[in-house]
């Protein structure tokens, strides 16, 4: 008895429509629409092109790191060291340029290589020594931050040439330059996850690593890649950040890992692995930024804003849980 064609197609369609509305992404879209409507009433400056572009500028760094973090969390791992890699790379950029007299272009490249290597170090231990990711990255969270302080001797490097600020402070084709980075990286990350064997492998690993291994999926290579990718993206984000704030500090990116994880988790990626999407993560990211910005513009202070964000985080998962239980069985 095989499947019957006609009813199956229809149920597929129904299923995908239902899924679209009932997933975490659906919950997010609804929350976001409500938030945008409310916030645009409470502040006339909220829904303006300038403001939105500016907000996109501010969320770029977290966004870039959230992309590989989505992969990592889908596989059931986590990377707590991204904020430290971010700070480490930023410091290395400034240090190589200022103290070691590298040409700035070379310093940028070298700092990205160093960030990538930091990711590789995490990856090697996680994949080959099988240290649980949360423990490995908890240790390197302290290590990389310490390296940033140690190498820079806590001094900031400043006084970059003008062209350097193109990436973080200026526009390209009318849109802040770094947003192009985010757009390109997001498309890349989305395609990779949703449309390639690699992406399918990532989900398989998250659901059943042994099964994935037995299916001939190069599990080790994929895991290596995602942690290295996280290091790489952290370094790229650090470069854009340096360009935006015109200085490198050893404490840049402290606590950033929690912002990144919040965006990913809010975007519906299950913290135990197996499910999640890039567009979900981007929605989570945008919602967090809109809330921060919109509430601020509406006269809500920073302290109250983080309370609201905490509540939204819990509520969105709660609503999604409820929907899953109630409607999808």
């Amino acid at each position: 008895m095989t499947t019957q064609e006609a009813p199956q197609e229809r149920s597929n369609l129904q299923l995908s429509i239902r899924n679209a509305f009932l997933g975490q992404e659906g919950v997010l879209v609804v929350i976001m629409v409500i938030a945008v409507i409310v916030l645009s009433f409470t502040s006339e400056n909220f829904l303006t092109v300038d403001n939105l572009l500016n907000q996109a500028r501010l969320m770029t760094e977290v966004g870039l790191i959230a992309l590989p973090m989505t992969y990592i969390i889908i596989t059931g791992g986590i990377d707590l060291s991204v904020g430290s890699i971010f700070g480490f790379s930023a410091v290395m950029l400034g240090w190589l340029w200022k103290e070691q007299s590298f040409p700035l272009e070379a310093a940028i490249l070298a700092s990205i290589v160093i960030g990538t290597l930091s990711g590789l170090l995490n990856a090697l231990f996680i994949v080959y020594v099988r240290v649980p990711p949360i423990i490995m990255t908890l240790a390197t969270l302290a290590l990389y931050r310490g390296m940033a302080y140690g190498i820079s001797q806590a001094r900031s490097a400043r006084g970059y040439p003008d062209w350097f600020f193109q990436f973080g402070q200026r526009d390209f084709l009318g849109i802040p330059t770094q947003i192009w980075f985010l757009i390109v990286a997001s498309i890349f990350a989305w395609i990779l996850l949703a449309r390639t064997p690699f992406g399918r492998g990532i989900y398989a690993i998250g659901n059943n690593e042994i099964g994935a291994r037995f299916s001939g999926i190069p599990v080790n290579r994929y895991l290596l890649f995602i942690y290295v990718f996280a290091g790489f993206m952290s370094a790229v984000a650090a470069f854009l950040f340096t360009s935006r704030v015109s200085t490198t500090r050893a404490d840049s990116g402290t606590g950033m890992e929690l912002d990144v994880i919040a965006a990913v988790v809010l975007g519906g990626t299950s913290i135990v692995g197996g499910s999640g999407t890039i567009h979900g993560t981007l929605l989570g990211l945008v919602l967090l930024q809109l809330l921060k910005n919109g509430l601020s513009l509406s006269g809500v202070k920073g302290d109250a804003t983080i309370v609201v964000i905490g509540v939204v985080l819990i509520l969105s998962i709660l609503i999604n849980n409820y929907i899953q239980k109630r409607f999808r069985q």
């Binding site: 199956q8 149920s11 989900y203 099964g211 994935a212 037995f214």
Partner: protein
């Protein structure tokens, strides 16, 4: 004699499924009462109702001495003297044997403190009463063999003074000698008037052990028979609802040139210098006790735990296999032993599972070609007659037999020349079993080289062109189809030092279980 437990008109509905419909069941003290049925017949639901995991929608449960009962939680059932040993062992790997035995009802001292010396003492006593003397009650359970873990499970059930013991597929993962041990314990319990509800796919065990057998099919009660008054054939037709004419449809094939050969293959501690050849069109049955290194050999060949030394030859050419990807490129496929953990990604859809191993060949540029994927999946579903409600159905929701078909389909999709099947029919029902056997035969007919690992003697004898027996990491013996008998193979499986006479294979009902028969184990 009064039944100790009696269930009448039990019905249970899950969304979309009538899991049980007006089922009757009763059991006497000191009786072993088997429940059989294909997967999905409702066996699990029934025992879960008895053990308090589910509550029945309708019907009554009558327990001796307590009258009408209704259990709302496993705890209530346990308090009423019903203990259950589930298929997946429910033990705590990081806790000691003694603690595992007494979880949920630790012996206490004053102030409710756990009395450790008392607990160890009682644990020892229980183990001794089961004639188990070789288990250290302080050991962590995670460090025990499966057989020993199961003994701990039984001791755990007894520690609650169970009057009724439910055993769900207790032998599925046991070695032959462990099975024998288990049977001894079951008989011991019987003597103590414990009633045992026994679920197994191996009909032979039922004939060895049970007094009565109840057959379920599609949630319906089919009937209860005295074991002495029935035959395997009758039970199978009751379970399937039709007559299964041929459980081992072996076709005569043309044996071709050697396709896969391994020479002096080493990987400690389970593969210690193995030589083996499989020819085109041949089914080689790989027999041996659990721990003899059969599955490990397959995993060495497939590159999951690559060989440290020795040669692998494909078509006579030496090849290097360092990970499954290498093996797949060389046309090897491996249907692994553990369906749930190794074979499938259970949370993924049928389609995604079917194409998982070959996804990289279904691409256009870097992207997955979704149409090609769909076509392939549909083709496999039809070819293997996978009963799924849609390609998009989550695999976990399929029955065991259909799940196994998905695993097989996944590997057939890779168009292998060499197919290694590790326990291909474990834990699946008779109908699906016959289908998988038929498929295996057909594939061999088409020239595929098949290496089949199995713990079921009738399957080994019924399906193989040649039988290779492994023992302690080495090839111990080899038999042609014609010369193989159950006794010869079994003797080869047990080493002289190990085989202490009585601890051999399960005594067979049918001394000549070769092809064509109804015999089923």
């Amino acid at each position: 004699m009064q039944p100790i437990l009696e269930l009448n008109h039990i019905s249970k509905k899950f969304p979309g499924v009538q899991a049980l419909d007006d089922v009757h069941f009763d059991i006497l003290p000191g009786e072993v009462h088997a429940i059989v049925g294909e997967n999905g017949a409702g066996k699990s639901t029934l025992i879960k109702i008895i053990s308090g995991v589910y509550t029945a929608d309708e019907g009554m449960m009558h327990l001796e001495g307590q009258g009408e009962v209704q259990f709302n939680s496993p705890r209530e059932a346990q308090q009423a003297g019903i203990a259950t040993i589930y298929q997946e062992l429910s033990l705590y790997r990081d806790l000691s044997v003694a603690e595992n035995i007494f979880t949920g009802h630790l012996p206490r001292r004053r102030f409710g403190a756990v009395d450790w010396p008392m607990m160890r003492q009682q644990a020892r006593e229980i183990l001794h009463s089961l004639e188990i003397y070789d288990l250290d009650v302080n050991r962590k359970v995670g460090m025990l063999s499966v057989g020993n873990q199961q003994r701990v499970e039984i001791a755990k059930a007894l520690s609650r003074n169970a009057r009724i013991l439910i055993m769900d597929e207790p032998t599925a993962a046991l070695t032959e000698s462990d099975v024998e041990q288990l049977f001894k314990i079951v008989r011991l319990l019987q003597e103590r008037n414990v009633a045992i509800i026994y679920i197994s796919h191996r009909l032979q065990e039922i004939f060895t052990l049970a007094n009565r057998v109840t057959v379920l099919r599609d949630g319906q009660y089919i009937g209860t028979k005295q074991v002495a008054e029935t035959t395997e054939g009758e039970l199978i037709s009751m379970m399937v609802g039709r007559t299964v004419d041929n459980l081992f449809p072996k076709l005569e094939t043309e044996i071709g040139a050697p396709v896969l050969a391994v020479r002096n293959l080493w990987r400690k501690p389970f593969t210690l210098g193995v030589d083996l050849t499989v020819h085109a069109g041949e089914i080689v049955g790989l027999a041996g006790l659990i721990g003899s290194g059969r599955s490990e050999l397959a995993q060495v060949i497939f590159g999951i735990s690559p060989a440290k030394s020795g040669q692998v030859l494909i078509d006579g050419k030496r090849v290097k296999i360092n990970h499954p990807g290498d093996a797949m490129r060389l046309g090897i496929a491996y249907v692994p032993e553990e369906r749930g953990s190794q074979g499938l990604i259970r949370q993924m859809t049928v389609q995604e599972n079917l194409t998982l191993a070959v996804l990289r060949s279904l691409t256009q540029g870097p992207f997955v070609d979704r149409n090609a994927e769909k076509t392939l999946a549909q083709q496999m579903i039809e070819q293997l007659r996978i009963r799924a409600y849609s390609r998009e159905q989550i695999v976990n929701k399929l029955s065991g037999g259909n799940q196994q078909k998905v695993v097989v389909g996944k590997w057939l999709a890779s168009r292998p020349r060499i197919l290694i099947m590790d326990e291909p029919t474990r834990g699946i029902d008779v109908g699906a079993k016959a289908e998988i056997h038929r498929l295996m035969s057909e594939l061999a007919m088409q020239g595929m080289a098949v290496l089949m690992i199995s713990s079921e003697m009738p399957e080994i004898l019924g399906m193989s062109d040649r039988i290779v027996v492994m023992r302690e990491g080495k090839v111990a013996a080899e038999f042609s189809r014609a010369e193989a008998t159950q006794e010869k193979v079994a003797t080869a499986m047990m080493s002289e030092q190990n085989g202490s006479g009585d601890a051999t294979v399960i005594p067979s009902q049918d001394p000549t279980p070769v092809s064509g028969g109804m015999s089923q184990q």
